[in-house]
Every structure is written in structure tokens, then in C-alpha cells.
Amino acid sequence: MSDLVVILVMNGFVWGLIVALIALGLSIIFGLLDIINVAHGDFFMVGTVLAWTIILVTGNFWLAFLVVPLLGFAIGAFLERWVMRPIENSAELSIVATFGLSLIFQEVVRATFGATPKRILDPIGITIPILSLDYQVYRLFAAAVSVIAMAAFFLFLHKTKFGTWMRAVRQDRETAVALGVPANRVFIMTFAIGTALAMLGGVVAAPITTVDFRLGLDVLPLCFMAVIIGGLGNLPGTAAAATLLAVMEGFIISFAEPTTARIISLLLMCVVLLVRPQGIFARRAK
């Protein structure tokens, strides 16, 4: 029994790191562009489907780690420039627009990939014994990739000129523009990076979950939870909240139904939204 708890908590931890990666994209898009991206879960879903397609075409799963984020970057840049930019002055319309994108993505995938869920085989195929049970090495690898990707993103944000621009625009858009930051390029870049992160998350998660056109609908609430509990626009808080939430759900699943775990985290999120809308990690409002 206790072994099972350890495994479930570990699964929760791995899944939490992947969700953190996806939620990070959601969070920067919100923080910079003021867009609640309802299609973010579908970006993730497209990532898993692209990973599946790449295996089908080339037979090599590892190629997906290179190709899919690049594709995501291109798709994100395109969407920012041609869909989101023209309506950037209205937060509500942008939500409705991303909802439209979400419908389009889901149905395009259903039309091309099909409506039946598919599985990707464990690409490493090795298990190691943890306590009395076998544990997939791929899950540990997935956790490592997520951590590396997040670390790389934080390095980008803090050590490069573009990252500094992004942080500047987030802090104070008008002053940043006045000081010569090319805001439009920053916006495109942000949306593109956010999309790429979600799709990378999709590739990482593809062998763990099933590949299905409805996957986004499951992941989106999780990402929202992480972003809200961590604080809208607070990146380290988002990553921490995602991991904590998933570990908590994993722990609860060990003695109760999965839906009970989900209900508890949803209730937790309601409380956070109402009592501390700035998130539990925020020191003070910016």
C-alpha cells in the first residue's frame, strides 16, 4: 500500500512538472498580452498529435522534441500576428477568439487524426525498481526534460536582451515602449514561446497519456489552476503550484477516487480565487 502511495505521488510529481511547463506558457501569454488563452490546452493536444504523427512518418520519437516546439513557435507567431493582434484592445473578445481557435484546433485534429484515442509506446522501454514496483524510466526522463526546458526559459528571460525586454513589457508596457522596446516583436515572441512550450509539453507527455483530440479540455483546467494558485503572471509561482497540485492529487488518488481528488483541487482553487486572487505566492501586488 505505501509503495503504491509513493508511486502515485511520483507520478503526480512528474505530471506536475509537465503541467508546469504548459502552464508557464499560459502564464507568460497572460502576463504580457493580457489574454486568457482558452486554446492553450489545445496547443498541448496538438503537440501530442504532432509527436504521434512524427513517429508515424519517421519512426523516430526523439525527432519530435526538435521539430514540434519549432512548429509550435511558428504557429504561435502566426496566430499572434493575424488573429490576436487585430483585437488586442479588448480582453473579452480575445478570450472569445481563443475559444474559436480551440474549436478549430479540436475539429481539425478530429478530422485528420480521428476521434479514437491512441497510445504511444514507451520510447525508452526500460523500468527500474522503486521499492517493490517497477517504474518507467521515461517518466523520470520526462520530468528531467520539463525541468531543463523551464530552466532554459528562465535563463532566456533573465540573461538575454529579449528576455529583459519581455520582463520590461510585462512590468510597464508604456514605459518600455517609450524607452524603445519593440513591443510588437515582444508580443509575437511571447505568444510563439508560449505556444512552443505547450507543444513541447505535449511531446513530453505523449507517451504518458493517450493521444486524443479532447485532451486539451482535461489539461486546460489543470493549467488554469496552476496559474491561479501560483498567481496570474507569476512564473515561479505557477511552476511551484502545478507541481504541488499534481502531487496533492496523486496523494489523494492513493486512497480516494480520482474525481474526488479533482473536486478537492477545484474547491481549493475557488477558495484561492476568492480569498487571494493574486495567488498564494505573491508578496504584494505589483
Partner: protein, 331 residues
């Protein structure tokens, strides 16, 4: 604050009374011209249109992007069915119990959701919908939905009008009843949004801080609108349960709220007529496209993006704009 959905329904038009009479005549004559299928289909357009209108009430007039409308629609469906099942209500009583069920959900949900602003409002409504759907469909709580988890109404409800009692087995009865009930709800909603209450809400939507300084109680007014719209959604749910004699837990799901959003935005969420137009467009096109092309929703996604980009006031706004141009040329 940033939401500036243009209000299209407020402009008094010269021909509006004539067109209203024409519409009434056409709708009255319709059952004599068409068969069973079309009668039910038209009635269904009106029900989903009313549902979309409930979204337009919170979004277009209240400035609240709510994804919880489906919860109230579902509550209406189940309120109706459980009312007939447990309490043996007749049609009228069951409709009342449906609205009561929707209000029961909307009072606490609205209270919580209207405490927070814009983005957080949307998130609260989505979370609450997911929470309620998850709870209802999980093993422990399935009993709430009782015998109607997936089953349909096992008997044909009857309509008592004092002296006569009509059976809903006749589609003509269903048709007239649905249209009349929808028209009633539409009339009440129209009176509401054109009352001082409605004007106060529009003021809040357009400039919240100024409305607050004028002395409007922003949170309470938005809460009241939220409850009213939920009542309308529950009412449309009851009409649907009556028409289709079928309910499903999936009606609670927030993807159905999303459908209301699509239909209202296409038709024009800034008016009460727009959602009906959007629904009619959606359902007729769906009916035809789905024969050739299963993934017709893609087309709606694209249409929605185009409308948001070029005509944020929707189809109804386009019609009004066209009408004004023509009338202006004539004058």
C-alpha cells in the same frame, strides 16, 4: 472596462413594429405549412436561441463573460424532470421547479463570481462548471441526477389550460407552447434590459469606476443580472426537457456554454435578438453541413474569428447597419 461590445438592439427602428407583426404571423402560420420535423426543429431553434440569449444578458449587457450558463441549463433540465418524477408536477409546476433549480445554483455561484473581476470572473465560472459536472458524474453523487442520468422522460407530459388539457404528443401543441413561452421570456428580458436596471448595467459595463462613483452598487447589480440570466437559462432547459423529453449530464458541461457563446457572438451578443439569429444560422447551417462534412464546427470557428475581427456586433448588427444605410439613402 475594456469590453466595448456595441449595443445594437437599443436603436428604435421605424419598421420594427411592422416586422414584429410579420414575424408573429409567419410563426403562427408555420405549423400549417410544415411537417412534424420542421415544427420541432423551429421550436428547438427558439429554445437554444433563448439559451444563447441568456448568455447575451450576462455578457452583452452585464459585461460578464460567463461560461456557467450550461450549468443553469442543465439544472433546468433536471429540475423539470425530477419535478415530474419525485413530486408528480404537471407541466407548469415542473417549469417552475426547473427555474427554481437554476436559481438555486445561480445565487451562490453568482455571489462568488461577481466578487471578482473580468478574467477571474471567467475562471470562476469555468471552474464552478467543471466542479459541478465532475461532482455530478462521479460515482458518489450520481444519485442526485436520480433516474435521469441518461434516460428520457418516460411519459408524455400534458398541458392543462384551465378547461382543456392538451397533450404534447401533438407537435403543433409543442410548437405553439414553445414559441409562446419563449416569446414570454423574451418580452420579460426585453423589459428588463430596457428598464433603469438595464441602463445601470450598461453603465457598469462601459465604465465601472464611473458607475461606482455615480452611486451604483456594482457587485449587487451584476449579481442580480447573473441570477436573472440563470433563470432564463434554466427556463430554456425546462422547455428543452419538455420538447425533447430527454436529458443528459452532458448538458451541464461548459462546452455547452461555449456553444451559447458561439451562437450569441455570431448573431450579436449586444442585443437580445442577435442570439436567436445566431442560433438559427448555427442550427440551419449545422443541419445542412453535417450531411456533407462532419467537422463543420471548424467553419463556425472561422466565422467566429471573422465576425470578432470585422463585425463585433454580429449578424444582427450587420442587418441594422445595412438597414440604416438603406433608410439613410432613402431619406
Amino acid at each position: 472596462m475594456t469590453g466595448k461590445t456595441p449595443i445594437a438592439g437599443n436603436i428604435p427602428l421605424k419598421g420594427s413594429r411592422t416586422s414584429l407583426v410579420c414575424l408573429a404571423v409567419i410563426l403562427t402560420a408555420m405549423p400549417m405549412l410544415v411537417g412534424d420535423f420542421l415544427r420541432v426543429f423551429i421550436a428547438e431553434i427558439f429554445i437554444w436561441g433563448l439559451f444563447a440569449m441568456s448568455f447575451a444578458m450576462v455578457y452583452g449587457y452585464g459585461g460578464m463573460l460567463s461560461f456557467a450558463q450550461a450549468v443553469f441549463f442543465g439544472a433546468g433540465c433536471y429540475g423539470f424532470n425530477l419535478g415530474t418524477f419525485y413530486f408528480h408536477f404537471g407541466t407548469w409546476g415542473a417549469i417552475l421547479s426547473a427555474v427554481a433549480a437554476a436559481l438555486l445554483f445561480s445565487v451562490p455561484v453568482g455571489f462568488l463570481a461577481t466578487r471578482v473581476k473580468q478574467h477571474h470572473f471567467l475562471l470562476v465560472t469555468v471552474i464552478v462548471s467543471v466542479l459541478i459536472t465532475t461532482t455530478l458524474s462521479s460515482g458518489h453523487w450520481r444519485w442526485i441526477a436520480g433516474p435521469f442520468v441518461t434516460r428520457s422522460l418516460t411519459f408524455v407530459p400534458e398541458l392543462s389550460l384551465g378547461l382543456v388539457t392538451l397533450s404534447f404528443i401533438d407537435t403543433t401543441v409543442t410548437y405553439y407552447f414553445t414559441i409562446a413561452m419563449v416569446a414570454l421570456a423574451f418580452g420579460l428580458a426585453w423589459l428588463m434590459v430596457h428598464s433603469p436596471f438595464g441602463s445601470a448595467l450598461i453603465a457598469i459595463r462601459d465604465n465601472e469606476r464611473r458607475a461606482q462613483l455615480v452611486g451604483l452598487n456594482v457587485n449587487t447589480l451584476r449579481w442580480m443580472m447573473f441570477i436573472a440570466a440563470a433563470g432564463v437559462a434554466g427556463y430554456s432547459g425546462a422547455l428543452y426537457a419538455l420538447l425533447a423529453r430527454y436529458t443528459s449530464l452532458s448538458f451541464w458541461d461548459w462546452t455547452y456554454s461555449g456553444q451559447a457563446v458561439v451562437m450569441a457572438i455570431i448573431g450579436g451578443a449586444g442585443s437580445l435578438v442577435g442570439p436567436f439569429l445566431g442560433t438559427a444560422f448555427y442550427m440551419i447551417v449545422t443541419e445542412h453541413l453535417s450531411r456533407y462534412f462532419q467537422q463543420f464546427i471548424i467553419i463556425f470557428g472561422v466565422i467566429m474569428l471573422i465576425i470578432i475581427r470585422y463585425a463585433p456586433e454580429g449578424l444582427w448588427g450587420l442587418i441594422l447597419r445595412g438597414y440604416k444605410t438603406v433608410a439613410g439613402v432613402r431619406a
